[in-house]
């Protein structure tokens, strides 16, 4: 009878630990096992990505729709190419959409802001592997200050 009691308590302990892990995995971390949600890929070329990092969020109107998959330098034009991994449930962005690298708050982290464009009969939808043409680079604070000081000199 004592073995049975011990076994029940150990079982409870294991279940508690599993519950803790599930809570950490599902409620605290952002993805479940293996990033369960399906994504599709878009590319965007920028002149300057500022402080953008891999796994930075992609937001539409403040809502996170995906994450930056990788950042590479184009071998021909020497401009950064950012691979955007967007959740498959948000699959209907028109090709007139634009992306910009924005900063959350004055000193916060940088993220990719996606602005959906207009839709009419001649506009196609962006699909897996397409490139977004209309991009705005990150604002580098030092350059901005430099320009400001330079203009004041005149």
């Amino acid at each position: 009878m004592t073995t049975r009691k011990i076994e029940i308590l150990v079982g409870g302990f294991i279940v508690l630990a599993c519950a803790a892990f599930l809570m950490l995995a599902l409620k605290v971390a952002d993805t479940g096992f293996g990033g369960a949600s399906q994504t599709y890929t878009l590319y965007a070329k920028f002149d300057n990505i500022g402080g953008l990092k891999v796994r930075s969020p992609i937001k539409v109107g403040g809502v996170i729709v995906g994450r930056v998959g990788s950042i590479e330098l184009d071998r021909v034009s020497y401009t950064p190419v950012v691979k955007l991994e967007i959740n498959a449930e948000y699959s209907n962005f028109p090709e007139t959409s634009s992306v910009a690298i924005l900063t959350s708050g004055l000193l916060g982290e940088q993220y990719v802001g996606l602005l959906p464009g207009f839709v009419d009969d001649t506009v196609l939808m962006l699909g897996n592997g397409d490139t977004i043409e209309d991009t705005r680079s990150a604002i580098v604070l030092e350059e901005l200050i430099g320009q400001f000081l330079f203009n004041r000199g005149n």
Binding site: T3, I6, E7, L9, V10, G12, F13, I14, L16, A17, A19, A20, F21, M23, L24, A25, K27, V28, A29, D30, T31, G32, F33, R55, P57, I64
Partner: protein, 260 residues
């Protein structure tokens, strides 16, 4: 004079090295070999109860309070920058990456490690271990192995529970008491915590700590001088050595996981 000094240094070095050697041989003898699940499993469950379930209370309470204190202190600093929305990531990342594994290991060394050392030391002092050998029962397989595996299994589980309770404690103080928005507490946490980078690295850390703490505890007990003074010294050594080893390993693991 100089020769005596040299001899002392040499003696200490040699005894340290032979201590490592004995610890290695003990662990090797305990875990390498054909496993006998039918006999070993009930022993393992019994030890899981003694080591894991009975440590649950101290883990739950200290996890809750550490989460609450983190939240309180973090709030006081963050609110000055108007960044109290980042309280969730602060609490969860510091728990998942550092405090969870480390504090669990320290508590575990104090709660379970010292008990193991004393238990095995007393078995040695009362010649139960020699008795077993007389009966052709290998004490390494019968006594050391189930305790070792139970410790290695129990500690990562305890650390997970510690983390979860700590984050809930942070929620309790931050959201319920200090009035941080519940949505931003959880969503900022979800945006900043990564399952592999943070949660699983914490589990790996705590598995390494488990190995270190339980090995030290078992070795100190198995190697204790079989007198009451020897056992008391071994128990103290377990807590001190295991705590220092955990802190040292924590630095190395942090540098490997998050340093690059």
């Amino acid at each position: 004079m100089i020769a005596n000094r040299l001899q002392k240094i040499g003696h200490q070095t040699l005894s340290t090295i032979s201590g490592f050697g004995r610890a290695g041989i003990m662990l090797f003898g305990a875990i390498v070999g054909k496993p006998d699940f039918r006999k070993g499993f009930p022993l393992f469950i019994k030890q899981l109860y003694v080591i894991g379930v009975l440590s649950l209370m101290i883990i739950l309470v200290s996890g809750l309070f550490i989460g609450m204190v983190l939240s309180l202190q973090g709030y006081n600093v963050l609110v000055k920058f108007g960044a109290e929305g980042m309280l969730g990531p602060l609490v969860s990342l510091s728990l998942l990456r550092e405090l969870g594994p480390v504090v669990t290991a320290l508590l575990f060394a104090g709660r379970a490690g010292s008990a193991l050392t004393a238990e095995i030391g007393l078995m040695k002092a009362t010649e139960q271990l020699s008795g077993m050998e007389m009966m052709a029962v290998d004490p390494l397989r019968r006594i050391i192995a189930p305790r070792f595996w139970a410790g290695v299994v129990a500690m990562p589980l305890l650390a997970l529970i510690f983390n979860a309770v700590g984050i809930l404690g942070g929620h309790l103080v931050g959201v319920e008491w200090l009035g941080v928005d519940a949505g931003s507490y959880w969503s900022a946490m979800q945006a900043n915590v990564d399952l592999y980078q943070d949660v699983l690295n914490g589990v790996i850390k705590s598995a390494v700590f488990a190995l270190v703490v339980i090995w030290i505890a078992l070795h100190k007990g198995f190697d204790a001088i079989p007198t009451s003074e020897g056992i008391s010294r071994a128990t103290t050594q377990t807590v001190v050595t295991a705590s220092l080893a955990v802190l040292g390993f924590d630095f190395i693991l942090t540098a490997l996981m998050f340093g690059g």
